[in-house]
């Protein structure tokens, strides 16, 4: 047995250990999977957190993840919240700035700046937006206006400087070009003169000197012109860059300035170009003329060389040698001349032959040159036209803008006028309202004062009247009091009389012999009636006395009691006889019962009668008890419960008892009433 028991115990122990180990392992595994469960276990079981920490490691991952989760939604909620707020704030400075100053791009720039500012801090920390967002509208507008003004000033000054410098340079260039043109024409003229005119040698040398001077002038003028042109071009370029810069800044107030500057620039460019073309044409002409002069010079030189080769002795200026020449020389000269003429004729013929080709070639060349020139001219013309049209467009735009501005101004002025009218009207209305209010207040206050004055006077009157009334009332009161005293005394007397008569009635009621009824109550009742002929209640009561009592009188309680005692035996004897059982045999039985049955002489009646209490013997004992204790009413009630022959036997007694009770009730009511009246009429000391 012990072995079996020990193996059984070992089995139980093993099972228990297994269960516990399984439970712990399961708990640890579930805690590893569900962090809430782990937290719950750690909270409820004391050393579980140590154990779980040992088995699974600390439980921080879940917490941090939760924290991250909790942090993310609020930050994400913040971002959409901040973005519309920022946009709203930005819109506000944007719109009034648009209205106040016609600088649409500036706020756009500002908005961009602010957007950038907004975008950067929103990611990191939202609280740095506040200083940017809270920039007030007026400050922004003022700053914008200030900036515009500054830029405008600088721009206009720079533009003006540039314009001035470029104008100067252009003018200089134009002057120089003109001078150059002049010099060139002069030179050409001089050259032509020198070429064609037949002037005596000294003048010719002076002429040639003049020519050289002119040439020098021309070269210097041309150089000057070139430098001036370069300078002018530089100045124009700088002006153009300035204009571009100013256009880039887009400050519209200087737009007319810019436009004017552009126009000036264009004009200058056009003038420069014109002058340059003039110069070029002059130069080309001069080139032709110079070429011609070169050719002529070359021919002259050639001729001179020929002549000198022919006549080496003739030197120097052959024009002065008209008288010195010999006939041979002359002949040689003429032959040379004839030869020359032949040569020239041949050349001429050749030239005439090759004329067409030369003409074609030259035409071709000319065409090419013309083409080039044309292209250049076309280009420049196109550029000029483009520039012109652009300037025209800008001018028209500016004009339109001005017109629009003027119109807007007029509309605004009209609106302002309308506003002032409206304000005037409103002010008028308000004035009227306020006046009406003030008058009303004044009227009410006056009314108040008047009413209060009237009230006071009325009060005085009232007080006086009141006093008079009080005195009169007191007098009246006193009279009434005296009258009422008299009346009250009368009443008291009457009440006393009533009471006396009622007392008499009561006494007569009490005064009854043992077996005979009282005396008739008629006289006493009459006395009562007499003493209360003005009192309905007492009269009613007095007339409520039963006739029998008045005529015959009532029996006293003692006599009734005695009679009852006599009746009792008789009732006992006929207890069994009633409507159905009324044979002589029943009578015999009834008599036998009465002889044999014993009941209590007197028994206290219960509060409520049950069916058992309706037995005649019981009723008789109850009634006897009541009578002994003076309760005639209850005794009558109990006797009223008898039935059958017994009832017939006690009928007369019951009637007499009723009469007595009735009379006594009326008399007691009357006496109570008389007492009350008497009490009422007595004056308290």
């Amino acid at each position: 047995y012990t072995a079996g028991g020990s193996s059984g115990a070992a089995k139980v122990v093993a099972a228990g250990l297994l269960t516990v180990g399984g439970g712990v392992g399961g708990t640890i595994l579930y805690a590893k999977w569900d962090h809430k469960f782990r937290a719950a276990v750690e909270n409820n079981v004391p050393y579980s957190d140590w154990l779980l920490g040992l088995a699974l490691g600390p439980a921080y991952q879940g917490d941090i993840m939760k924290q991250v989760e909790m942090a993310q939604p609020p930050s994400m909620m913040d971002k959409p919240g901040k973005a519309p707020k920022g946009k709203k704030a930005l819109k506000e400075p944007g719109s009034p700035a648009k209205e106040t100053s016609p600088v649409p791009s500036q706020p756009a720039q500002k908005e961009c700046k602010e957007c950038q500012h907004h975008a950067d801090p929103a990611v990191v920390a939202p609280h740095t937006e506040l200083p940017l967002r809270e920039r007030p509208v007026e400050e922004v507008a003022a700053r914008l206006a200030q900036q515009d003004q500054k830029e405008q000033d600088t721009l206009s000054s720079s533009l003006e400087e540039c314009l001035a410098s470029s104008a100067k340079a252009t003018l200089q260039a134009i002057g120089a070009q003109e001078a150059a043109v002049q010099a060139i024409t002069q030179h050409i003229h001089k050259l032509k003169e020198a070429m064609e005119a037949e002037v005596p040698p000294p003048e010719k040398s002076s002429q040639w000197k003049d020519l050289e001077a002119a040439l020098a002038d021309r070269t210097s003028a041309v150089n000057d012109a070139e430098t001036a042109l370069l300078k002018a071009k530089e100045a124009l370029d700088s002006l153009k860059s300035e204009i571009d810069k100013s256009k880039g800044l887009k400050v519209s107030a200087v737009r007319p300035l810019v436009l004017a500057a552009e126009e000036n620039l264009h004009n200058m460019v056009v003038d420069l170009d014109r002058v340059v073309t003039k110069l070029q044409s002059a130069e080309s002409e001069s080139k032709i003329v110079s070429q011609y002069s070169d050719l002529v010079n070359e021919a002259k030189l050639q001729f001179q060389r020929e002549v000198s080769s022919l006549t080496p002795e003739i030197q120097a200026n052959w024009k002065g040698l008209t008288g010195k020449l010999s006939a041979d020389d002359l002949n040689a000269l003429i032959a040379h001349a004839h030869r020359r003429i032949d040569q020239l004729n041949r050349e001429l013929a050749e030239q005439r032959v090759r004329e067409q080709i030369h003409i074609d070639a030259s035409l071709e060349q000319q065409k090419l040159e013309d083409q080039k020139a044309l292209e250049k001219a076309v280009l420049t013309a196109v550029q000029h036209i483009k520039e012109d049209t652009r300037l025209e467009q800008e001018r028209k735009l500016s004009e339109l803008r001005e017109v629009m501005e003027a119109e807007m101004r007029t509309q605004l002025r009209r609106q302002a006028a309308a506003h002032t009218d409206h304000v005037q009207d409103v002010l008028k209305v308000q004035e009227q309202e306020l006046r009406a209010d003030a008058e009303q207040v004044l009227g009410s206050k006056l009314l108040e004062q008047e009413t209060s004055y009237r009230q006071l006077s009325q009060e005085q009157l009232d007080n006086f009247t009141l006093d008079m009334n009080t005195a009169y009332a007191r007098l009246k009161g006193m009279e009434e009091a005296i009258d009422s005293h008299v009346v009250a005394e009368e009443e008291a007397r009457k009440a006393h009389q009533l009471w006396l008569s009622v007392e008499a009635l009561n006494y007569s009621l009490k005064m009854a012999d043992a077996d005979s009824p009282t005396m008739p109550l008629e006289s006493a009742a009459q006395a009562v009636r007499d003493s209360c002929h003005d009192n309905d209640f007492a009269l009613a009561l007095a007339t409520a006395l039963p006739e029998e009592s008045l005529q015959r009188g009532v029996y006293s309680e003692a006599s009734l009691r005695a009679r009852f005692n006599a009746l009792r035996a008789l009732v006992r004897r006929v207890a069994l006889v009633d409507e159905t059982h009324n044979s002589l045999y029943q009578y015999f039985l009834s008599y036998l019962q009465a002889a044999l049955l014993f009941e209590a002489k007197q028994e206290a009646p219960p509060g409520q009668l049950c069916s058992e209490d309706l037995d005649p013997f019981r009723l008789l004992s109850y009634a006897s008890f009541c009578l002994e204790h003076g309760d005639l009413e209850l005794a009558a009630k109990l006797v009223n419960q008898l039935r059958g022959e017994a009832r017939r036997v006690v009928e007369d007694w019951l009637t007499e008892a009723r009469l007595t009770l009735e009379t006594r009730q009326v008399v007691s009511l009357l006496s109570a009433y008389a007492n009350a009246v008497g009490l009422g009429t007595t004056q308290a000391p």
Partner: protein, 83 residues
């Protein structure tokens, strides 16, 4: 006085009984002597009859208050229309 009535009735009963018994007795004696050869049975018969008549009278007298007389009988009529 209603309580005296019973006594009066009993008085009448007894008086009546006595009279009837005596009368019956006398008549019985007379008849027995005259017609029935002095048998006793007519005496007892007549006196018994007399007593019986007295008993019956007494009972009737005592019952008389419970009996309805012809003048007192009232007709019960069913009311045809409901109230």
């Amino acid at each position: 006085m209603s309580e005296k009535e019973l006594g009066k009735k009993w008085d009448r009963c007894l008086a009546d009984g006595a009279i009837k018994f005596g009368t019956g007795l006398g008549l019985g004696i007379v008849f027995s002597v005259l017609f029935f050869k002095r048998h006793t049975w007519p005496i007892s018969l007549c006196s018994g009859a007399g007593l019986g008549m007295a008993f019956s009278n007494c009972q009737n007298d005592l019952r008389s208050s419970y009996l309805l007389h012809r003048s007192q009988k009232v007709g019960l009529c069913n009311k045809t229309h409901s109230n």
